[in-house]
Each structure stands twice: as C-alpha cells, then as structure tokens.
Amino acid sequence: MTMAIDAPRQGFRLSMLIFDTRYRSYTIQAVVLALFVIAIGWLGYNLDQNLSDRGKELSFRFLWQRAGYDIPQTLIPYTNDSVHFRALLVGLTNTLVVAFIGCICATILGVFVGVLRLSNNWLVARLMTVYVEMFRNVPLLLWVLLSYVVLTETMPAPKDFKVTDEMTAAGEAPAASMSFFDTVAVTNRGTNVPAPLLERGLGSIDLGFMSLNLTFLAFVAVIGGSIYANNRIVSDARRRQETTGDRPVTWWKSLLILFGPIAVMLVALGLHWETPVLKGFNFQGGMFIAHAFTALLVALTLYTAAFIAEIVRAGIQAINRGQSEAAFALGLRPGRTMSLVVLPQALRVIIPPLISQFLNLTKNTSLGAVISYSDISGTLGGITRNQTGREIECVFLMMLVYLSISLTISMGMNYYNRSTQLKAR
C-alpha cells in the first residue's frame, strides 16, 4: 500500500521560516550571509577607524617612490634608484624562478623516488622509505635553515682560492679550487658559474613602458618553430603508421630539427662563455647564484619530492595488477607496459594531488624570508613594507600576488588533468 501525503495547503506564515523544513534552509542561509557581511563590514570599519586614528590612509602611491635599497638577486634590471613597484617585480620574478625550477626538480626526483620505493630491491626500497619519512616529518623551515647554514658555513671563502707568489714558489696548492675544469666556484657566499654571452646580440627596442629584448624574442621564435616542425614530423609518421602499418625512422630528423636551428643561431650570434675569475674580494664575471637561492631550492625540492614520491607510489599501486598481467600476456615488455598501460592510468590518480603539491611549493617559497631570500615577501613584504610603513597595502598586494600565481597554476594543471582524465564516451 502506498500513501501519498501532500503538504497541507496553507498560506505562508512567518513562523514557517523556522519550523518548516522547506523554508528553514533559506532562513539559515540568510542569517549566515548577514552575519558574514556584518563581520566583513566590522573589520573594514575597524581598519578604517584605526588607520585614521593614526593619521594614515590607504594609498598605493608609495609604489612609485624611489626604493633606495639594493636587492641581492635581480633577474630584471634594478638599481636602488628604481621605484618600489620595480622592487615588487624583482621579488615576483625571484619567487617565480625558485617555484618553477623547484616544481620541475621536485617532480623528477619525486617520480624517481616513488618508483624506486616499489623496487624489488630491499635495500633501495628501504632507503627511499627513510628519505620520504625523514623529509615529510620535519618542518620545511628547518630544512631551509639547515641547507643555508651548511652552505654558508662549510664552503671555502673566496680568499681560499687565491694563489699567491709564495705559494707558487713553495709549490703549494690553494686551500680550495674551482670544480668542473676550473669553471665553477662554490664559495661560502654563493656559486659562481660561467655565463653564456653573445658577441653580437640583436639589441632591444624601447616601447616606452618596457623594453623588448630582440635576442630573447628570436630565441623564443626559433625554439617554438623547431618544436612545431618536430610535431609535424611525428604526426606525419603516425599517420603513415596508421595507414600503411610501418613507421618511418624519425629520430635523426627530430634531433636535427630540434637542435640544428638553435645551434646555427648561437654560432651566428657568437656564443661564448664567460668564466668567473677571482678579483679583489669576490669572483667577478660569470653568473652569481647566491646561497639563499640554492638553499631554498634544495630544501623545497627535497621536501616536496618526498610528498610527490608518495603520490606517485599511490598512483602506481592504484592500478589493478591484472592490467600489467594482461599486458604481459599480450607480449608487451615491462618498459612498454609501464609507459603504455600503467602510467597513463596512474596519471589520472597522480595529477590532482600533484597540483596541490605544486601550489604548496609555490606558497612555501615565502619561507625564504628566514634566510633573507629576496622573493616577493622579502622585497615587498619585507623591506618595502618596513621602509614605507604601508603594512596593510603591502600585505594585501602580497596576498593578491600569491593568489594569482596559485590560481594560474591550478588553471594550467586542471587543463592538463582534463586531457589525461578518463574520457566517458
């Protein structure tokens, strides 16, 4: 027997907002919204009131005042005569470069460790377990500090590289020497590596608000063109394979098209390497990578890689053993089983948590503050905030910047995730 019970038809009464389940949720939502608006309003009012009590006002004009301070690591031109906004950009590029390289290194190391943790070799698998557990369970801040202190305390001072006349006479070697065929010097201040220099650069054109580096643009164009041409070659080969059944040999064509044009261009522009030389207090020439950068990168990579390793391991283990057994039964070799059967399916499991690891790594770059790495929290959130006294504005800008970076990363990764996801047809 079924009973259909209709709600009694009655007019709307105010008490129904509380006692009628159909309307109660609206009431609750309205109240929560009102409370939320009140809270925000109260905070805003409080801020405004307290600022005006101190004779301050919210203003971003300070961004166009002279900064007056120097930044140890600048990827874009900057002097102490530049404005605070320029310092913000310098900090932003420093944040992005350590986050970008960190994400790549952490992914490579993480995948490597994750696969090795599943190794049948007992020793290798256990070593990887030790690594993962050690890095996952100690705060990142300590790893950052540790790598920085180790680098600055254990490496030789630049003066140890000096060869004096007495030493040559006595046949003594200096206390420290450069590595990699006398091209790389690691001191207690940083790493000096050779810098690629072009004899005949293409110069740059000034667009008023910014200057365009023509050499850089040419490189982007050539590399992009090479990659496009290579894609064409590979897709042609695939089409031939699908229609005729045999795949033409393409590896030498790919190599040629990928590296030929860029090599020709480098030779044409007169590429040479400038090696660092000890002059005065420090090594001069070449490229200087401060230890704050190296330490932060190493710590971020090792720490995040431990998490990525676990994600990769979980992803591989999530694939049913039957899949690889079926592939073996079809006669696929282990390598092809991994690349054609297991990994494509594992990626679906791996990528979503990987996105949050990338986001974590990017946000964790702000820990560079403890070793005075000049990222955006060091320039804008540190020195600029302190020299101008604009705490609210600087912190607000910083939040905005981190939010934008994070949203961009998740947008890109979500796009990639959709392309690897199971397509329901």
């Binding site: 109260w42 009131q49 009590d53 201040r189 207090f281 540190g382 006294g389």
Partner: protein, 338 residues
C-alpha cells in the same frame, strides 16, 4: 534591532580603540607593568643574560621609566623585536614604546606615524672588516660582500654610499645582529655595516675581537632614541622627561648613590623640583611626585648608565664623544626642568 546592535558594537569598539590610543600611561599603570620593545640581543645596549635578565644601555632607560611610573624598576617586560618587526609591534600596541637603537628620520616621523621623543645616543653608520683583508678605508670595499640588516636606515645609507663613491657591492641581507654576526664570522660577508655603536658591541662579543677593525668612515647621522606611537603626547612627554631627568641628574652630579642625600640637603631649586621635594612637577605628568627621583635611584644618571653598559673600560669601550653633556662639548642637552 540587528542594526542597532551592530552600530552599538561599532560605537563600543571605536570607544575602546579610542581609549587605548589615548592613554598608554593609564594602560601601563593599570597593567602594573611596562612593555618595552627591545633589541633581539645587542650586547651593551639590550640583551638578555643566561638567566633571562635583560641589561644594557637601552634597557636601563626602560627600567628608569618603570621606576618613574610604577615605582619599581623590575616591572618591565622586554619584547625582542627585529629591524623589520619593531615598528609594527609598536603601532599594533604590542609594546608601549621602543628603545632599541632606532634612528630618528623624517619619514618615520611622518609616514610611519611614529614619535621620536629624544635622542639617547648620537651615532653614525660604520663598517667592520677583518684585519686580514688589509682594508683601511670603506672606499676600498669595491666588489665586497656586505652584511646588512633589512628594514633599517643603514640599508638605505649603504646603497647611497656605494653609489656616491661609484663602487659596487654585493648585499647579504640579514634579519638581526645575531645572524649578521654568524655570517660575518663564517666569512660569508667581507664587511658588516650598522651603527658604529652596534659594530663596537658586535666586535666585543667576537672571540677574536683584536682581528677586526672598524673603518674610520662614518657615512651617516644616526640619532638613536626611544619611540612612541603618534597621537599620545602625554605618554611621549613622560618618556621624554624621564630621559631628560637622567641627563639633568648627571649635569647636577646626582647619582644613584647620593640621590636620597641630595634630596634632603640640596638648596638648588631645579634639583628640588626634579626630585619632587618642592612643587608638584611629577603630578603634572600624571606621575608620583617622587617619580624622577625613583628613576635616578633605580638606574643612576645618564653618565652612570653609559659607563656601566658601554663606556670606556667595558668590553664595548665606547668614548662619550658626541654623547657627552653639552657642558663638556657633547650634544646631550636637557631643557630646563621648570
């Protein structure tokens, strides 16, 4: 109804924040404790010892203030602040005042909305290097790596100095004196720059102090002094005049040892007013009449504080120089106590 509650709450908060702004002196009295923003640790100026007792030149000014307001020099809580956190700590009300080698500048007075009430140490920025470098002038530091504390005036002076002299340097940013000292000792920077007094203090704590030399160039004016929040001039007056009381005490030869005796025997009217024997100057500041006497009794006069913490004969070994009394050719000068 909701609306009226909302505006009521708003009015109440405004009132509370208004009150908190107006009366730091009342807050301190009600709390029974002075909260003093101090250095994270700069020997001679403000540093805790192994058992957590703070001592130093700046610390003694805080103690004098506590003695003046609360009658007990031990009722001070010291909050360590770095170059970057100090002004935020002051403005947020976390500390009542800052006494930590902070330089008085125009933009800090205006843009940061702070009030520098006095100058308790006239200083200038210098450089310290290892003798082994063979450097005798800061102008020879071309290409050197320099340790510099962030969020300081010295950071800006450093940039200006190297630019003016057309030489280059590689900055190594550090957060506080301890980190600067670690990097400098490890040789991660060739030179360390900060206020000359800070250099002397850092040098004194190095195990091989004789191997380090402070270069002759003083590249800036660094008037260091206590700082309070803008808009609370009654509180600023209390800090300012407690400091001046210590200066007047030195001028008049009043010390911690003889202050009681002077109070009973003096015929000098200014001293009588200062020590609360006649008139009620203390009360006009909202303090006890014997407030300034208590301050002198607790820490001694300016000269005593100086020679006890940083003067000649201590490990820091600074001469009075600019900080001598105006009667002895220095700049320390107190307005009349009248």
């Amino acid at each position: 109804m909701k609306k009226s509650v909302f505006f009521g709450a708003l009015a109440a908060t405004t009132l509370v924040s208004g009150l908190a702004m107006a009366g730091t002196l009342d807050d301190v009295k009600a709390r029974g404790e002075l909260i003093c923003g101090s250095n994270t640790g700069l020997t001679g100026f403000g540093a805790p010892d192994a058992s957590g007792n703070w001592s130093g030149f700046d610390v003694d000014l805080c103690r004098a203030l506590a003695a003046a307001i609360l009658g007990d020099a031990s009722k001070v809580k010291f909050v360590p602040t770095t170059g970057e956190t100090r002004f935020t700590a002051l403005q947020s009300g976390e500390v009542d005042l800052l006494v930590r080698n902070s330089t008085w500048t125009a933009s800090r007075d205006s843009e940061l909305a702070l009030d520098f009430v006095a100058v308790n140490y006239y200083d200038g920025q210098g450089f310290m290097v290892n003798k082994a470098l063979g450097v005798s002038s800061a102008k020879e530091l071309d290409g050197a790596t320099v340790c510099i504390q962030t969020g300081t005036t010295t950071e800006l002076n450093l940039a200006d100095f190297f630019k003016e002299n057309n030489i280059s340097y590689q900055p190594v940013n550090v957060a506080d004196d301890a980190e600067a000292q670690r990097q400098y000792t490890a040789g991660a920077c060739d030179a360390f720059t900060t206020d000359a007094s800070g250099l002397a203090a850092t040098r004194a704590t190095l195990p091989d102090a004789e191997n380090h030399v402070i270069l002759p160039e003083i590249i800036s004016k660094e008037p260091l002094g206590p700082v309070v929040r803008n808009g609370d001039s009654a509180w600023g007056d209390v800090v300012r005049w407690t400091y001046y009381a210590l200066l007047i005490a030195e001028e008049k030869g009043i010390t911690a040892a003889n202050v009681e005796e002077v109070a009973t025997s003096t015929a000098d009217e200014e001293v009588k007013r200062l020590l609360g024997v006649s008139g009620e100057m203390g009360a006009k500041f909202g303090l006890d009449n014997a407030a300034f006497k208590n301050a002198i009794l607790a820490v001694g006069n300016y000269g005593e504080i100086f020679s006890r913490n940083i003067g000649e004969g201590t490990s820091i070994n600074l001469a009075r120089g600019l900080n001598a009394l105006w009667t002895q050719g220095g700049l320390q000068y107190a307005p009349p106590f009248r």
